[in-house]
Amino acid sequence: MQYEATIGLETHVMQKTNTKMFCACKYEYGAEPNTHVCPVCLGYPGALPVMNEKAIELCCKAGLLLGCEINPYSKWDRKNYFYPDMAKNYQITQADQPLCLGGQLTVDVDGEMKTFTIERIHQEENAAKNTHVAGASLVDYNRAGTALMEIVSNPCMHSAEDALAYMTAVKQIMQYGGISNCDQEKGQMRSDVNVSVRPVGQKELGAKVEIKNMNSFAFIKEAIEYEIDRQTALLESGGTVDQETRGYDPDRGETFTQRTKENAHDYRYFPEPDLMPVKIPAEQIEQWRSELPELPAQRRVRYVQELGLPEYDAGVLTADMATSDWFEQAMRHTKNAKAVSNFIMGEMMRLLSEQNCSISESNVTPEKLAGIVALIDAKTISTGAGKQVFEIIFNDGGDPKAIVEERGMAQVSDDSALEGWADEAIANNPKPVEEYKAGNPASINFLMGQVMKASRGKANPGAVMQMLKQKLDR
């Protein structure tokens, strides 16, 4: 029998807000433990939550970027469970009326365009951070109560590759949209993965296994692959899959049982009496929509249609938001998109990977690259010299014009200088001259090379060619 896997993702994304979701404590990664805490996020007696308007805006904008409907009316609920990282022992979240409903995402999975659908995005609050020491655990509440949204996909994926492509796209969109930095090492993007397997042709889904709280794409891929294999093997051997929550142990490359169906939580959701519902008028949604940044897919189209770049270049430039933003900045200082693109895809990417740094750290700023391109376009320097200038600035800094001047890299187009080198080349190389005159135009290239050699590369090749033709065709 053939089996197929079905995968759904619950992706938690920490939003880029200054303060927490329901209190004015600062969100700062890596701060001294328990220094950004207050009665509200510590769950002290008498403290009450108040909504952060920026978080609501970012959640709705995330929804708009992912093609969701913004719910005109949404409300808050308490999700009850005891855990030391949950100060109140309930999480404020949205059960039946989330901020965003529906949505979809079309992504390239190994060359095939696939559309994955999103059920909802709801706003909630983050938990504190536990660390484990000998015989005890320590809790730092700095992260407790920070703004966290949960993007819930439908069970619409069928392989680890699907899941990875979906998450990569979500991450890219969240970053482009200014919603979240999605820094996985800082726990800003974590996913719960639901995996089930059923015989092909069976209508209802198989028993759902949830793998909790993973932040590495590599581990998510491994865990999904392991889980599909495990469940398929179980079914093939006539066994049944238990509905349960599992964890992933990256060292052993295996998932393991955490919580069985019998021990499942009873979350006892009920409307949060301390918070008022949210109503979002249509005008507000339109305002937010007008503020949305361009997404990578839209940028790609624009680079091709408006800037005339090849599809390939547009894809490379937009893959990463920082690169794309850098490119856009350079384009404010030049019109030569292809030249800028060539430099980024060539020299820039080579040098960045050699030196293992990011584009924002490069000594070559967008303005300086535009300066180099301008010098080439004005024929002040050759393309080859331009590359040299680029590398000099990348390594040691400096201004393109000044470098060209200091190092005498400017091309020579001056007729009197060129004439001397041209006459010399013609006089010293009678054979190629003969051949050219006899009807072999390629022979002029040898003469050209001689002139370039004599000028030590500084002669303007176009001007040299013109000069040689003038003399020989006479």
Binding site: P45, G46, N80, N89
Partner: protein, 488 residues
């Protein structure tokens, strides 16, 4: 002793303004009164004498500089569930042992701004769960009118200390009658404000959608002034209503006419099993209002009888979540365990008293998987019907008159073994919390055994001015409020 502790806020304010006494004098008299009687009454949990005298000195200095703050130099007692920076806040529970509040509740900040002297913290039912102040882990409180009887609850300490002249006024909180019922049992005035009028920030939550802080005082006018200080929008409380606060104190005049006012009498509030003395006393009070010019009309609040069922579902459900934070992790009592789950179970077993455990379990149950719709959701829907009853009634009248309690204060220990019986006594007060509107309780007579009986004046949402005006007219033309208990 100049008997300053026996006076009202208004009387003391006049004396202070005239230079006839100082705030230090008042605080000294009140402290002496506490020394004389609180051994018997047991209202206070903690009294910070040095701090009270220091605050009084500051108030006197401010007055000398010309300050006219509304409650400058008046000592007030605080129910033990309000957070005051640097003080314990036990909620009469063992589970908050060792907790020091790091912040002021909004109402405490408002009292400070008004110049009040914070006297000390008074007893209550644990986490405000109870109607007799017998569910208190840290001490028992008696009714000053008869020490063998309960003071009512949950704000029993607040009402007892005011009745015993151990404070000029006090703050209480009312979730299902916890201000009005002890005020009635102790012969004081108490106001349950409209939900959202007074910020709940810093009030340890029992049932968030029902809790309101309010005053307990010796007269209606004192309650009006204190209420004015407490009210106002607070951005720290999302349920706080953003609207202007009327000058409740100034709005009360010497005019005692109730002409043009329609008072509703709900037949459902004269319930079966009501003490005949209570019924007669309240009906006499209704007649008295009629004699002041009010028109009495019959109204109906047909869903009143469901209020107890609805209340004990909604309040316990909210409480089960609100009290989950008392877990021995971040503050308060901890009984250690091998893992957090064991720690929680043990800490909460030792830290909570029986009534709190019972209510948390009930509240957990009504929210649990499979029961939510049958209990919680249904209760929320019937809550709507109870609200609608009031909306309809207030189309026919300006305020509603009713008893506060079916009986006067009962004996200590009389009902502690029968929780349901105790719950049923809240039948006349819980509907107002469920509907969210306001109500006032004031003394309207005494039983043959000398225990106070209260009259409840229920107002529409944000109609505090109306009920205060009616109460003030009644009070000025009767003498019940001037009687003092003999504490023996």
């Amino acid at each position: 002793m100049a008997d300053l502790h026996k006076l009202t806020i208004y009387e003391l304010s006049e004396k202070l303004a005239a230079g006839a006494c100082t705030s230090v004098d008042i605080v000294n008299d009140v402290l002496a009164s506490i020394d004389a009687t609180d051994g018997k009454v047991g209202a206070y949990l903690t009294i910070d004498r040095a701090s009270a005298l220091e605050q009084a000195k500051v108030a006197d200095a401010l007055r000398a500089e010309g300050s006219t703050l509304p409650m400058l130099g008046i000592p007030v007692a605080i129910k033990d569930l309000l957070n005051v920076k640097g003080q314990p806040c036990t909620c009469s529970s063992k589970i908050l042992e060792g907790y020091t509040a790091p912040y002021d509740a909004t109402v405490i900040a408002k009292l400070r701004e008004a110049g009040t002297v914070l006297l000390g913290r008074v007893n209550m039912d644990e986490f405000a769960m109870g109607s007799s102040t017998e569910n208190a882990a840290l001490g028992k409180t008696s009714n000053p009118w008869n020490l063998k009887h309960v003071p009512g609850g949950s704000s029993g300490g607040s009402a007892a200390c005011v009745a015993a002249d151990e404070a000029i006024a006090a703050l209480g909180s009312d979730t299902g009658g916890s201000i009005r019922q002890p005020a009635a049992f102790c012969g004081c005035v108490g106001v349950k404000p409209t939900y959202g009028r007074v910020s709940r920030y810093g009030l340890t939550a029992f049932a968030s959608s029902l809790d309101q802080i309010g005053p307990i005082s010796k007269t209606v006018k004192d309650s009006a002034l204190l209420l004015e200080v407490l009210c106002g929008h607070d951005k720290m409380d999302s349920s706080s209503i953003d609207m202007d606060v009327p000058a409740f104190g100034k709005s009360l005049t010497a005019d005692t006419s109730l002409a043009g006012i329609k008072l509703g009498l709900p037949k459902e509030y004269f319930v079966e099993g009501m003490d005949p003395e209570v019924e007669k006393t309240v009906r006499d009070a209704v007649d008295h209002c009629k004699s002041l010019g009010a028109e009495i009309v019959d109204v109906s609040l047909p869903h009143s009888k469901y209020a107890i069922a609805v209340y004990y579902i909604i309040a316990t459900a909210e409480a089960s979540a609100n009290l989950a934070r008392f877990d021995g992790i971040r503050y308060g009592l901890r009984v250690d365990g091998k893992d957090p789950i064991e720690l929680y179970g043990k800490t909460r077993a030792v830290g909570f008293g029986s009534e709190v455990k019972r209510r948390i379990i009930l509240g957990t149950y009504v929210l649990s998987s499979g029961y939510y719709d049958a209990y919680y959701l249904k209760a929320q829907k019937v809550r709507t019907l109870i609200r609608n009853d009031f909306t309809a009634a207030f189309k026919q009248c300006d305020a509603i008159l009713a008893p506060v309690t079916p009986t006067p204060a009962y004996k200590l220990g009389e009902k502690t073994d029968d929780p349901l019986k105790m719950y049923l006594d809240d039948i006349l007060t819980t509907p107002v919390n469920l509907a969210g509107n306001c109500a006032l309780s004031l003394p309207c007579g005494f039983s043959s055994s000398g225990l106070p009986i209260g009259l409840q004046i229920i107002g529409d949402s944000f109609a505090e001015e109306t009920i205060l005006k009616i109460g003030h007219a009644y009070e000025q033309t009767t003498e019940w409020h001037t009687r003092k208990p003999e504490i023996s």
